[in-house]
């Protein structure tokens, strides 16, 4: 009776309920803020310098758009290739492949620039209403390595609100307003643009100032998306991409080839090819975790690609990639496809430009990854 009377006093009841609200806000808030902790990237023996993206656009300093740029310089002079991982933080094959390069490759000739988290802001939060897990893990040489899984665009806490219509600069092409936070619709970017445009501009500045010869942007796509398991190449990069496609097929890696559409603006392969002297390509692999048909988004789905609904969709002929109960594993297939592609691009570029070779040693071996995943190539 006393408790009931006590509860009926609105002031005391309000205090208890507010205390409960404070607990909920604290627990969920801490979990949200914890997503801002970046995943570890170990500096491998081939890394000669580490820059920051803000070195190329100072206003990004002390923002969540700033990120590491790993520089691997060879003993001999040669060409420069830039690998972009993490343009979309929900496409893990990109940033995992980039990390593997940073932690293993030693350059013999030329220079390899790697940005594992090109849109670092995207890693600080998932996309609203997607219920994605904030992280996933992979077996490493001695234990487990964890990686962040984020959102497709810059976090809404870094850039908000979205306009109704996004006007791409400088083409003026109109896109859906939510694309304003998609870094792969923001190139070439501008220094005084919105947050995402500034990040894209900094990457473009790297290409210009460092005289990058070849840009490879690593992505994934949902299995129902037509551009999948594909290289998308700017027209100037197409001869190189043709050679790479053939060589990848000879190595048993199925890969398609698409021309960069000239009427779709803002993408890295279009704009970096148009606005810089670099050859620009993009690579896609299948990722069920970002698809619309998927079931629950779990770390297991991210790593294995196994999903019952996608198997059903494949049987109904709705997908642009084959799908069975084995899924599409992140390590043995998706990251491997990216790593083999990058290796072949470096070889093909060196053959076409013998005076500017790009050659690497200690490159992750296809047979090893197919057999036992990335365990050997992820430092403890």
């Amino acid at each position: 009776m006393k408790l009931r009377e006590w509860w009926h006093d609105k002031f005391r009841r309000g205090l208890i309920l507010l205390a409960g609200a404070a607990v909920i806000a604290t627990v969920s808030g801490r979990a949200f803020v914890a997503q801002r902790t970046p995943f570890p990237v170990r500096r491998g023996p081939g890394v000669t310098e580490v820059w920051r993206l803000s070195d190329f656009l100072p206003r990004l300093r002390d923002t969540r758009g700033d990120t590491d740029v790993f520089v691997l310089t060879g003993r001999k002079p040669g060409g420069t290739v830039l690998v972009l991982g993490g343009t979309h933080a929900n496409e893990p094959a990109g940033h995992v492949a980039a990390v593997v390069l940073v932690e293993n490759v030693i350059m013999e000739a030329g220079r390899l620039l790697v940005i594992p988290t090109a849109n670092a802001s995207g890693f600080s939060a998932g996309d609203p209403q997607e219920a994605s897990p904030p992280a996933f893990s992979i077996a490493a040489a001695d234990g487990v390595r964890w990686f962040r899984y984020g959102g497709r665009g810059s976090a809404v806490t870094d850039q908000w609100p979205d306009p109704d219509i996004y006007l791409h600069h400088p083409s003026g092409q109109t896109l859906s307003g939510s694309q304003t936070r998609n870094m792969n619709r923001a190139y070439p970017g501008r220094p005084d643009g919105n947050f995402t445009e500034q990040c894209a501009f900094a990457v473009t500045e790297i290409v210009r100032r460092e005289k990058v010869d070849l840009v490879i942007d690593l992505h994934e796509a949902s299995p129902e998306y037509p551009v999948i398991n594909t290289i998308v190449a700017h027209e100037r990069a197409m001869p190189l991409a043709v050679a790479v496609t053939m060589n990848m097929e000879l190595r048993g890696i199925k890969i398609g080839l698409e021309a960069s559409p000239s009427n779709l603006r803002g993408l890295s392969h279009r704009e970096l090819g148009d606005h810089t002297p670099a050859l620009a390509v993009l690579m896609e692999t299948p990722n069920a975790a970002e698809g619309r048909i998927r079931g629950r988004t779990t770390p297991e789905l991210i790593v294995t690609g196994r999903d019952k609904m996608y198997v059903r969709a494949a049987r109904a002929g709705r997908l642009f990639v084959s799908y069975d109960e084995n899924g599409h594993p992140l390590e043995q297939e998706r990251v491997l496809r990216h790593l083999v592609g990058i290796e072949e691009f470096m070889k093909a570029f060196s053959e076409e430009n013998p005076q500017r070779p790009i050659a690497a040693t200690h490159y992750p071996e296809q047979a090893v990854i197919q057999q036992s995943g990335l365990r050997r190539y992820l430092r403890p």
Partner: protein, 53 residues
């Protein structure tokens, strides 16, 4: 400088609204339903305050 002032102003506004919500949740004159709504509203306001950089 202006950006920092805008940030401070925004934080103060959210804090003000949160304070009003907490007051509403504690007032004996308000109905129980209103009290519950105020408590529920306090959660996203507190989160917003936490996430403003």
């Amino acid at each position: 400088m202006i950006q920092q002032l805008i940030l401070i102003a925004y934080q103060l506004i959210v804090l003000l609204v949160l304070a009003a919500t907490v007051r509403a949740a504690l007032r004996r004159e308000n109905s129980s339903t209103f009290q519950i709504m105020a408590v529920v509203l306090a959660i996203p306001l507190a989160l917003r305050l936490l996430m403003i950089k």
